[in-house]
């Protein structure tokens, strides 16, 4: 449709459309490109008092390190300030959160999609309300009990909490994916001799992979992007990347090593870039799956 109509569009409108898109892409992408570029400079360039051309040419970087690019920020963040440990923790947290969320979510989402009872409907509505809870309000309910139980500060606690916070969303999304698989399929399987669980495992899961991958991406993002839970529930030595970056800010700005934080920020952004690069289609389909089902 669009291509057929394109040549009938007035030239002025066309120019406007192209200009607008170019502007939007600049807005969307340039902050990232600028920060990635700047992370290889010294602070005097990236936060230049004289002219931002310095950041492009690396005038101060040249003066201080002898080359136009420097990895000092990365060295400082990853080695001096132990960012590698935070990265490692993030890997553990995201992998665990994603797998546990999906395991619980597929089971629950399947039950919700197949039940048809009133209580299943109310569970979904409750999940919708839970989904709207600001995470920090829940965190303020965790702290005191967690101190009492002496489980504050360690990774497993944060993982379980993130899984739970993630459940409402996961349930909704998987539930709508399961609804798109015909009920006949599991019913044939049960008549053919499967238990409900066998039907789920042998017949439904093999055709559910696209939905599971898509939902998994969003679980991953939740675990990866979280700040409220990990910042409050992890002790300093167990921090993941995002709270670690935030704790950099306080201490580093004073010592003038803000470039450590910039390098850490860029490092934490790279996996997200790669994710979008490879899973663009699934992300788009996941965003719209919720919309179609309402």
């Amino acid at each position: 449709m669009s291509e057929a109509m394109a040549h009938k569009r007035p030239a002025l409108l066309n120019t406007f459309i192209y200009d607008f898109i170019v502007l939007w892409v600049i807005l969307a992408a340039v902050p990232f490109l600028w920060t990635v570029w700047g992370s290889f400079k010294v602070e005097a360039d990236f936060f230049s008092r004289e002219s931002w051309w310095n950041a492009i040419f690396g005038t101060a970087t040249m003066r201080e390190t002898g080359a136009a690019f420097t990895g000092d920020g990365y060295y400082g963040a990853w080695i001096t300030r132990d960012f590698w440990k935070a990265a490692f923790n993030t890997i553990i947290v995201t992998i665990c959160v994603t797998t546990i969320s999906l395991t619980l979510g597929t089971l629950g989402g399947y039950a919700l999609a197949r039940s048809g009872k009133n209580y299943a409907f109310w569970i979904l509505i409750a999940a919708l309300v839970f989904r709207a809870m600001p995470h920090i309000t829940l965190v303020s309910g965790y702290l005191l009990p967690f101190f009492q139980l002496n489980i504050w500060g360690v990774l497993p606690t944060s993982i379980i909490v993130l899984v739970a916070i993630n459940q409402p969303f996961t349930l909704w999304m998987l539930h709508s994916f399961f609804l798109s698989i015909p009920k006949d399929l599991d019913e044939s399987a049960m008549v053919d001799g499967c238990t409900r669980f066998q039907a789920f495992r042998l017949v439904i899961m093999p055709v559910m992979w696209p939905g599971v991958v898509t939902t998994g991406l969003f679980s991953f993002l939740l675990g990866y992007n979280d700040f409220a839970v990990t910042a409050m529930l992890l002790s300093a030595e167990n921090q993941t990347m995002v709270p670690k970056i935030s704790s950099f800010l306080g201490s580093i700005q004073e010592t003038g090593n803000v470039m450590f934080a910039v390098a850490a920020v860029v490092s934490a952004t790279v996996p997200l870039f790669i994710l979008v690069l490879f899973f663009q289609r699934q992300i788009v389909s996941g965003l719209t799956a919720g919309a179609v089902k309402g």
């Binding site: 044939s188 049960m190 008549v191």
Partner: protein
Amino acid sequence: MAQIRLKNVSKRWNKFVGVDNFNLDIADQEFLVLLGPSGCGKTTTMRMIAGLEEITEGEIWIGERMVNKLEPKDRDISMVFQSYGLYPNMTVYENIRFPLKVRRIPQDQHHERVMKAAAMVELEPFLERRPAALSGGQRQRVALARAIVREPNAFLMDEPLSNLDAKLRVSTRAQIKNLHHALKTTTIYVTHDQIEAMTLADRVVVMNKGLVQQVGTPMEIYDRPANTFVASFIGSPAMNLVSGSIENGVFTSDGIRIEGLPHRASGAVTLGFRAEDANLAEANGQIEAPIYTVELLGEATMLSMRVAGELVSIKVGKDYRAEIGDLARIAIPASACHIFDQSTGARIEA
């Protein structure tokens, strides 16, 4: 193989009644057809037998076992779904083999049994394909093969032919009939197509709004409908129904008068007669009315005329020609008349 018995079976969702007090004994090896209009509870009944739907009230027995609490897998039945329910990620061969695999039937029998089932429904050339690469008729046959690959107590089939085109429907219907003849497995078959019901069934159950209207052989249902619903549902065109009154074996209404009926009832009744039982009258007929339309069907001509406010259809010879508005005289033999109670709709016997 087994007999199946339904005792006072009901299904309700909140207040909505899907199936109401269903009682039936299905004999071993019988081919039973559930027939009724859309939404009358046929699928629900079948799914309760299969264990896919919880039973609100009553008991279902398969063979000597009460199965109310049994899982579908433990009822040992096989089912063919309206939309086939094939496993899209498995080949045809794996689809047919699946019931053997999950029921832990010894591996060495699998190949032989799958091939035998595939041969019965002529599927051998397609065994390595996935369901997505099959036509509707072929998918239908995979579903059948998957049902017959083991020897269950009973086959349940829910409108298995409804997704096929007219020609394929006729040939697959024949195939099902032949399979039943060969395997002699008790079969419950759901349809809303009365031709399927008439051609396949040993007995037909006619349902409406969750209630059983009549149980009988196809001939009984056609010849002696139990009430006006069955009368108007079976036959093509449906039985003509005219309300009027009867007195001393004489039925009268506006534009119609039939004498010599054997019925002793009197009062307000509904008269039923089939289009094919009426004829052109030689002299003065039981109906005399202007023709409303004339339809040429090829093998016959269908007249319709307005009698007592109803349009009635009359099947006459294929060479009959008349204009709309012409007066026609129709003879209805008293022996071909059915009398129903006007308020309950129930059949009144002679």
